[in-house]
């Protein structure tokens, strides 16, 4: 085609796009500024209402049922807020704010926030969010149900405990603990998806807010086919000092997954038992390098004078990390251990001399 210049056409097309995008950016940024200003106003109203709810005291209130009765007048909900509630974005923002506030308070103040949530009829959108195809909205709804302990949705939450979407699963599992305490851990019985380390940290944190309880189920989870469930169960044993499970922990030392064995070794540090050191010594030769070092670390808490020959022998190991940890384990036995360390033929040679000097300095 005469006069047809493809590159020039391309350049013109790009130039138009540049112009459109640049204008869009400037308009969008303007909108952000306006929205931020609007959000600032919204936040002021929302924060005020949330603060009122947190400090609402039923005993001093004229109407003792003020918060639990869905009559917004009794809560002094400003008209402005009532009008804003019609706005979907405001409702979403307020919902997030209440959730955030609820995570930081407990007891009566927490209950007041749940009541406020209901009073503002924010719970009406939960069903829709749960049915949404968006994982984000599903997770958000489950989080709200859990954090605010909206009991009427309790059964919905259980459905999601083994969901293929990680975030949905996590929120659902957390919610189960909120509702049922340690009993909520029952989701571990059937968990087929991995419980990530992040989730384990979250669950342990959630459990730390509960009063101590002799919960059951760990023995089942220790035998789970899901290795991450076993690892988490081992962490529970360690955290809650479940001495009666000592034998089951020993079984985990034979597990094919080295991470499971690693956690099991670590648990033994917290469950004092005269059998531990000999067991760890018998385990040592067949373990991975990483787990061998961990065994030596645990030995510095559980070993006795009888284990000194084994540990002294490791001071000749080629791996310096082994040497350091063996030396620390020997030194942990007190003055006798230190004497034994210093009786080693290589005591004046590097690296042992430096390792011993460091241990001596750190023990001061």
């Amino acid at each position: 085609m005469p006069g047809f210049n493809l590159p020039l056409l391309g350049a013109a097309f790009f130039a138009i796009l540049i112009f459109i995008l640049a204008v869009y950016i400037l308009i969008y940024q303007r909108l952000i500024r306006d929205t931020e200003a609007k959000y600032k106003r919204w936040d002021f109203i929302a924060d005020h209402t949330i603060r009122d709810a947190i400090f609402f005291d039923e005993s001093t209130s004229n109407d003792t049922d003020a918060l639990s009765v869905p009559e917004s007048e009794k809560l002094n909900i400003p008209d402005r807020l009532k009008r804003l509630l019609k706005n979907k974005k405001f409702r979403f923002r307020l919902m997030k704010k209440i959730l955030y506030a609820k995570s930081d308070v407990s007891g009566e103040a927490g209950e007041n926030l749940t009541n406020l949530y209901r009073l503002l009829e924010l719970d009406k959108g939960i069903d829709k969010m749960l049915q949404s195809k968006s994982w984000y909205l599903n997770a958000m709804a489950i989080q709200a149900i859990g954090v605010l302990e909206l009991k009427e949705f309790r059964d919905h939450v259980f459905r999601f405990a083994n969901n293929k979407r990680g975030l949905i699963r996590v929120e659902s599992q957390n919610a189960m603990i909120k509702f049922d305490g340690f009993e909520g851990l029952r989701f571990l019985d059937t968990a087929t998806y991995p419980i990530t380390e992040w989730q384990q940290i979250k669950l342990l944190d959630e459990l730390s807010h509960l009063p101590d309880e002799h919960f059951t189920g760990i023995e089942i989870w220790l035998k789970s086919v899901n290795d991450t469930v076993v690892i988490f169960a081992l962490k529970l044993v360690r955290t809650y000092y479940r001495f009666e499970l000592y034998d089951q922990i020993l079984e985990c030392l034979k597990h094919k997954n080295q991470e499971v064995r690693r956690q099991a070794i670590l648990v033994l540090k917290e469950l004092p038992n005269p059998q531990t050191a000999p067991i760890l010594i018998s385990l040592y030769p067949g373990e991975t390098g990483k787990n061998q070092i961990l065994i030596l670390f645990v030995m510095s808490f559980v070993s006795s004078d009888e284990d000194i020959p084994f540990l002294m022998n490791l001071l000749n190991d080629e791996n310096n990390e082994i040497k350091i940890n063996a030396a620390k384990a020997i030194a942990s036995l007190g003055p006798y251990g230190m004497d034994m360390l210093e009786s080693h033929p290589n005591v004046n040679a590097e690296p042992l001399s430096q390792i011993i000097a460091q241990i001596k300095e750190e023990s001061k």
Partner: protein, 475 residues
């Protein structure tokens, strides 16, 4: 048609084809990064990072910061690092044989004494002269290592040897970290059981003209100077689009040397940083990936789009030139060291896509661009080329470059919106028009120089002087 005409058409088609290939690559990256960014931001809204900061179960981290002649700001820099809120943390400052008074200043300010310390040399390094700890329990997290000068890679390796924790975070000592930077960087290591996350990188942003008080960034401004401003644009493009897309693909090959976290066990198994290359940051990631591929261990290199680390960008052409020259040499050296992976299906995505991409886009692109420029100019001079066509081709490539930058700004505004001032955004948009002419051309020239220097076997890092961060003026 004469033989020469056929040759001309072939060459022109080659350049045109290559340009289109590059464009398609950039379009794919730009669009592909959107989904990952959106997913991250949504997921992140559920995360309570405080949990990680306080948890006894949180992974133990060692921050390693090499320092060479940083005496002017070392105390403030270390103070900034000490203020990071994370319970399982160790901070290792490696004084790489500084000729100034860095060590004395640290000793005096942080009440340090030379401790008995056995350095387990798992990675061979230059000799360590001493390890210092503080007498004051407030600084119990701090460890200062004094060693013979051996370069950044060697200093980082000493830090790895000294580190007592499972994960290492390697940073430039003069970088400013966001308060929650470590928390965000560490989280990917905990999020999956399917893969072993071997490294995580974060977005590095340019701190020139930003307000910094007591080692903390208090207000973000667009750099006032031209060069840092153009680099801001370049960083937005590279981090927000490029690395995000590669992270989604699972083919990320580079984590910035200014700020990255690594699985220490794998880093040691791979032999640590390679001091034979000036691109030690990229080389380590490539080597770690290669190790995982060769050992058939499922793995990931993760990336966080949050702006976590702020650094001072070169503000003079001389220093910028040295930096670009070094980057080029580092890239080529890394590609050469791992050439076995090039289109090698044994290395999966790494061999079939990431490596060829770096070869085509990072190594070849400046050379082809330079040769193409010479070629067209010579042929225009001799009247062998249709000038109108050549110019329109140039215009198309230029406008595409601008478009890609504008798209980068759009993503920045839609996600983090760091430059809230309308004037800053306008200036950034204007910068897109001159960036291809100034920074890009300059980068191409220094990439060519880097290639030449590499052929001459030049291996120096090139001095990188910094002006230091500004503090708000007192009114």
């Amino acid at each position: 048609m004469s033989l020469q005409d056929i040759f001309n058409v072939a060459i022109s088609s080659l350049f045109l084809g290559y340009s289109l290939f590059l464009m398609c690559g950039y379009i794919f990256i730009g669009l592909y990064s959107i989904g990952e960014l959106k997913k991250y931001l949504r997921k992140n809204s559920f995360t309570n990072y405080r949990l990680l900061a306080n948890s006894a179960e949180a992974p133990k981290i060692s921050i390693i910061a090499p320092a060479y002649n940083e005496g002017a700001n070392i105390i403030e820099n270390v103070r900034s690092l000490m203020s990071i809120y994370y319970s399982n943390l160790e901070i290792i400052i490696v004084n790489d044989g500084s000729k100034d008074d860095s060590l004395e200043k640290l000793i005096n300010s942080y009440e340090l004494y030379k401790a008995e310390f056995f350095v387990n040399e798992q990675i061979p390094t230059k000799s360590v002269r001493g390890v210092y700890k503080s007498r004051n329990s407030i600084y119990s997290k701090l460890l200062v290592v004094d060693k013979e000068n051996g370069g950044k890679a060697d200093a980082l390796n000493v830090g790895i040897n000294v580190s007592r924790n499972d994960y290492i975070v390697c940073i430039d000592v003069d970088c400013i970290l966001e308060q929650d930077a470590i928390l965000k960087l560490v989280k990917p290591f905990l999020e999956t059981n399917k893969f072993r996350v071997i490294a995580t990188g974060g977005v590095v942003r340019i701190a020139n003209s930003c307000e910094v008080v007591d080692g903390r960034l208090v207000k973000v401004h667009l750099p006032k100077q031209l060069l840092p401003r153009l680099q801001t644009l370049e960083y937005i493009r590279a981090f927000l689009l490029g690395r995000m897309a590669w992270s989604r693909l699972g083919g990320l090959m580079l984590i910035s040397g200014a700020f990255g976290a690594f699985d220490k066990e794998i880093a040691i198994k791979c032999g640590g940083y390679n001091h034979k290359t000036v691109g030690e940051d990229m080389e380590l990631v490539v080597r770690m990936r290669r190790y995982m591929e060769e050992n058939r261990i499922p793995y990931r290199v993760s990336f966080i789009p949050d702006p976590l680390c702020w650094t001072e960008a070169p503000s003079t052409f001389q220093i910028l030139g040295r930096q670009r020259n070094r980057w080029t040499r580092g890239t080529i050296e890394t590609l050469k060291m791992h050439k076995v992976m090039f289109f090698n299906p044994k290395y999966h995505l790494m061999g079939m896509l990431s490596y060829p991409y770096w070869f085509a886009f990072e190594f070849l692109a400046p050379i082809i661009e330079f040769v193409g420029f010479i070629y067209f100019n010579l042929f225009i001079l001799f009247g062998e080329v249709n000038v109108k066509f050549a110019l329109s081709l140039l215009l198309m490539v230029y406008s595409f470059g601008v478009l890609y930058s504008v798209f980068g700004i759009l993503m920045e505004v839609r996600t983090y919106n760091q430059y809230k001032d309308r004037k800053d955004t306008l200036k950034l948009l204007l910068a897109t028009l001159i960036e291809p002419l100034i920074l890009h051309s300059f980068g191409v020239w220094h990439a060519i120089m880097g290639n030449i220097d590499l052929l001459r076997k030049k291996s120096s890092w090139g001095e990188m002087t910094r002006a230091g961060f500004s503090t708000p003026k007192k009114k």
